[in-house]
Amino acid sequence: MYAQMVKSTGTLKTREEMDERERAFQDRIDAGEKIEPQDWMPEGYRKTLIRQIGQHAHSEIVGQLPEGNWITRAPTLERKAILLAKVQDEAGHGLYLYCAAETLGVSRDEMTEKLHDGKMKYSSIFNYPTLTWADIGAVGWLVDGAAIMNQVALQRTSYGPYSRAMVRICKEESFHQRQGYSIMMTMAAGTPEQKRMAQDALDRLWYPSLMMFGPSDKDSVHSAQSMAWKIKVSTNDELRQKFVDQTVPQAEYLGLTIPDEKLDWNEAKGGYDFSEPDWQEFHDVLAGNGPCNADRMSARRTAWEDGAWYRDGLVAHANKRAAQRMAAE
């Protein structure tokens, strides 16, 4: 996951308003064809995709931090190994996604700079802290669970490299969600303190997880064009509903209570009614005022700045070797 509120460049045009190339492009999308890097595409399509894929990639990278927070304190060697494998996968997902974005003519370094300058975003969820070991379970269960909802849909997205990256990523994400749920099962069936940690993690992460899908459809100003281009393939509310419907029985199985008094099965719609998250909090977090925004960005900037000598050193060495080869030829 993890693209929210991606600004779509370009206003939705009728067929009559499109020029010939735009019409042919839209016809390909409507026919379910994949768009490939060498194909012509509207500038708005390209820019919107860069924003969305870039935001998704940044989320994978920043997402290492809340989980990394517990690697050194994982309570068994096996849990530690599994968490390391998961975080390694996530860095790998970041790499596929940056590569997919690079096919659109933007470099990883440019995107990284924009992240550090606050010109590109990452998912709001990673601005919440992981305070107990149960949070590592809840992140896998809820956050990866929400991410999968979005990413399974995005396997059908119109841009070929993005769609193919999603296919690979989804396979690994389902393992992540299972490891999270496995931690939650152990905690919920454990000592009273462990059960308390599990419930506390659900209480704190439930609404931030619902926010991962972005604002309600009625307030989602960027969706129409992205849907027409099949950059987005489901609406925010559709995915959020699906997530709630999937997650409620899982919480019941754990014996945990979802922190929503209005949560109720609605037979007529075949899904749960539930409370919306506090959208003011969502906007506050996006504006930089979440509990961890400053720390997350500071950690990423420091890593980048402290690593400059390393990157420069490798480039200098490669140049020296290239010069030696030239001289030898």
Partner: protein, 250 residues
């Protein structure tokens, strides 16, 4: 405690503590590829820890598991060399520590996998040696590239070498346990590994344009439980949950 148990603890504690240190980098590496490589290295080391400490518990025969040994011993019962508990410092220090260790670890595992008279030791080494070969290839390559990179990367790598150098001799010290294991053909005499290490490290440092430090002093003590101040802090975070909630299963 038997010599075999002691040996398995020494091997497993090295990989546990180095794995812990490497995992501290998660999300903070200088480039995304390094985040992936460091997580992968830490994962290998923790996997090897499970095997070595599992063997130590089995040989000891008191029902202690690998997790017991990792999470319920205090610093004085840890048997890792001091080198692996050295702080991460900048990325150059982390990388140099890894290289100096890998240059010992890989030949050690290779010897064990090919020669150990103790089948269980040979089997663990057989699994671990392929990972250690990759670790060594990677760390040696990066030491060369950064040593012979910019003036700054050269200076940092030279400083890192000086920072760790006096902690390398401990890997080759021998005590009664080592003597017993060498006599039984279970493990090599540590001192016999030194010429190979000197040659390998010498070649890599030469290609990296780094000078071998002249100081031949060796800090010792880790292998008999006398550690630096660092280990206690590592254990304080690593062991926090099982210590704070002793009745819990995770």
């Amino acid at each position: 405690m038997s010599a075999l148990c002691e040996f398995a603890l020494r091997m497993g504690d090295n990989t546990l503590i180095l794995g812990h240190r490497v995992s501290e980098w998660c999300g903070h590496a200088p480039v995304l590829e390094e985040d992936i490589a460091l997580a992968n290295t830490a994962l290998d080391l923790i996997g090897q820890t499970q095997m070595w400490l599992g063997l130590a518990g089995e040989v000891e025969g008191n029902g202690r598991t690998a997790d017991h040994l990792a999470y319920k011993r205090d610093a004085w019962d840890f048997r890792n060399v001091l080198l692996v508990e050295r702080p991460n410092g900048d990325f150059g220090q982390t990388l140099m520590r890894q290289f100096l260790f890998d240059a010992w670890h890989h030949p050690m595992l290779k010897w064990l996998s090919e020669n150990s008279a103790e089948k269980r030791v040979a089997e663990i080494a057989e699994k671990a040696v392929r990972e250690a070969a990759y670790h060594l290839e990677r760390s040696a390559d990066l030491v060369i590239r950064l040593g012979d990179g910019t003036d700054e990367s050269h200076r940092r790598m030279q400083d890192a070498l000086a920072y760790h150098w006096t902690y390398t001799g401990e890997m080759f010290e021998a005590d009664a346990v080592d003597g017993e294991l060498a006599d039984a053909g279970v493990a090599p005499d540590p001192a016999a590994m030194k010429p190979g290490w000197d040659a390998l490290v010498g070649d890599v440092l030469a290609e990296a344009t780094l000078a071998v430090p002249e100081n031949d002093f060796a800090h010792k003590g880790g292998r008999r439980g006398q550690h630096a101040e660092h280990l206690g802090h590592i254990l304080a975070s690593m062991q926090f949950l099982p210590r704070a909630y002793p009745d819990a299963r995770w």
